[in-house]
């Protein structure tokens, strides 16, 4: 017989561990949630499961030896990390890069940005319960991986850039395949929007969910699509132009509300802009050498330097302290997802557990990049 409690329990809070092995956390992230029924009272993202000590490794390696590490932080936009690291050294040591190499870097980096956004698109919709768009996105992404595989030799963890240039020249087949990809993705763009953007379930799960406005973004140091969805026109490619970006025409898509739907739209529009950039870069791709004059072992002058690039997830920074030798004295990586994840401590309280998936997905984190 059931025992009658003297008084009904009105409120009870409990804790829920989401992760570290949850499918929607995309990596080893643990969200420690304090719940009142289905509502979140407190959220504590616990990171560090994938900490490999990249920054420590740098201190005992030559600048060139650290090259493969850069793309292993963010394995989805590895080429942009690779490019950023190499460009940071070049700027510090004053090494010139031939224009052909710069254009190749930009083309490959933008292809990588598209592949990263396509993966995000597929998995985000899958987190929300739609399986089909995932197949569309991976179908297109596979072409990029094949193109990059041919020229760089790897599918995800690229070590393509070299100090003073790139490792391998591109050929006509690369150019033809890239042109073909641009055409193909554009022809399928309407399908993407018909499948997802106009889907009423998707709209209900993203509109007004997880609003990150300008003020919150400023407090937490958010960057990338998360910041731009809040209406801030801030893109490192425009604010602190590097490589050949000043010569290329592109727009910076922004949102207005700063909710999950706006972040989705910003990323989709960014893919279109990246296609534009690649198209122009292919047109202008100059002839010439792909490796400039760079010393075998680079020795940046004594002192420090900060270099930022726009990675797929936001502002990526390399802070290098050099003691004038062939080894970095200190290498600090400012990971874009770091601030974008921390904002969850502010966003999640007051929302439903079901929305956690939508908010976490819309932020697009890559945990190994935060853990380093």
């Amino acid at each position: 017989m059931a025992t009658q409690l003297p008084e009904p329990i009105i409120e009870q809070t409990y804790y829920l561990n989401m992760g570290p092995q949850h499918p929607s956390t995309h990596g080893v992230l643990r969200l420690f949630l304090k719940l009142d029924g289905e509502y979140i009272i407190e959220a504590d993202p616990i990171i560090g499961y994938g900490h490999r000590g990249h920054e420590k490794m740098a201190e005992s390696h030559l600048y060139e030896q650290f090259l493969p590490n850069a793309s292993r932080m963010d394995y989805l936009s590895g080429l942009i990390f690779n490019h950023g690291y190499v460009a940071a050294i070049e700027k510090m040591a004053g090494i010139e890069v031939p224009p052909r190499a710069e254009y190749i870097r930009v083309i490959c980096a933008e292809l990588n940005r598209i592949s990263s956004h396509l993966l995000w698109f597929g998995t985000y919709i899958m987190d929300l319960g739609g399986f089909t768009p995932f197949l569309y996105a991976f179908d297109d992404r596979e072409i990029i991986l094949d193109i990059l595989d041919r020229v760089t030799g790897s599918r995800l963890t690229y070590s393509y850039c070299r100090v003073g240039g790139v490792a391998k020249d591109v050929d006509d087949e690369f150019i033809a395949a890239t042109r073909g990809f641009i055409q193909r993705l554009r022809s399928r763009w309407e399908d993407y929007h018909n499948l997802v953007t106009k889907n009423v379930i998707f709209i209900h799960r993203t509109k007004g969910v997880g609003v990150i406005n300008r003020e919150i973004a400023l407090r937490f140091g958010c960057s990338g699509p998360v910041l731009r969805a809040a209406g801030v026109v801030y893109d490192i490619r425009r604010v602190e132009p590097y490589s050949v970006y000043p010569d290329l025409q592109f727009e910076i898509p922004t949102g207005t509300a700063g909710d999950a739907f706006d972040r989705y739209m910003v990323r989709l529009q960014e893919i279109e802009q990246s296609l534009r950039i690649i198209e122009q870069a292919l047109e202008r791709l100059p002839e010439g050498p792909i490796r400039g004059r760079a010393p075998r072992n680079v020795r940046p002058p004594r002192g420090d330097s900060y270099f930022a690039v726009e990675a797929a997830r936001g502002a990526l920074g390399f802070y290098i302290v050099s003691d004038g030798t062939r080894y970095p004295y200190r290498l600090k990586v400012r990971a874009p997802s770091f601030g974008n994840l921390q904002v969850l401590t502010e966003m999640l309280p007051g929302t439903l557990v079901a929305d956690t998936i939508s908010i976490l997905g819309s932020i697009d984190i890559v945990v190994p990049e935060i853990d380093r």
Partner: protein, 160 residues
């Protein structure tokens, strides 16, 4: 609010001789500020009030002391500011997490990797390493490093 406002505010907080302009194209930041630990809080408030965000906090270990490096940045071109604070070994820094929420994690990371404590931080526990770790890996006496230098060897006057 603009970057120039911040520069004005900064002059009120720190000695103008400690503020140096640097070439953004080479260094990546427009202002280089050498501050004392008791000035950090006021600098951070000035940065917040002039619409800058906290980009990163990093530590650097030297033979004689730690240097904690703050990066503030705005949404305009060339508005990154480096604030460098000397922290003697065994000493702590005041927290700026009351000013910037982002500092909650950045300071935890510096504490985790360097063992530099931040006074009045509401939740100063390890961020990346397991909670039972008994070492601070980015100190130069831990693991394998190429060199240990003094502050002057890196940041000192290059002509001296």
């Amino acid at each position: 609010m603009s970057f120039d406002d911040f520069r004005e505010e900064l002059r009120k907080v720190v000695d103008p001789a400690a503020i140096r302009a640097s070439d953004h194209g080479i260094k990546g930041y427009s202002l280089e500020v050498t501050a004392r630990s008791d000035q950090v809080g006021r600098i951070a408030r000035a940065a917040r009030d002039t619409d800058l965000f906290l980009e990163a906090i990093s530590g650097v270990d030297f033979t004689d002391c730690f240097q904690v490096v703050y990066f503030f940045n705005g949404f305009g071109a060339g508005s990154r500011v480096q604030v460098r604070v000397k922290v003697n070994k065994g000493e702590s820094l005041p927290t700026i997490s009351t000013v910037y929420d982002a500092a909650l994690w950045h300071e935890r990371e510096v504490f985790d990797l360097f063992g530099i404590a931040f006074d009045n931080h509401p939740n100063l526990r390890r961020l990346l390493l397991p909670e039972d770790a008994d070492f601070h890996p980015l100190r130069k006496d831990f693991g394998k490093v190429h060199a240990v230098r003094s502050t002057d060897e890196i940041y000192g006057d290059p002509t001296a």
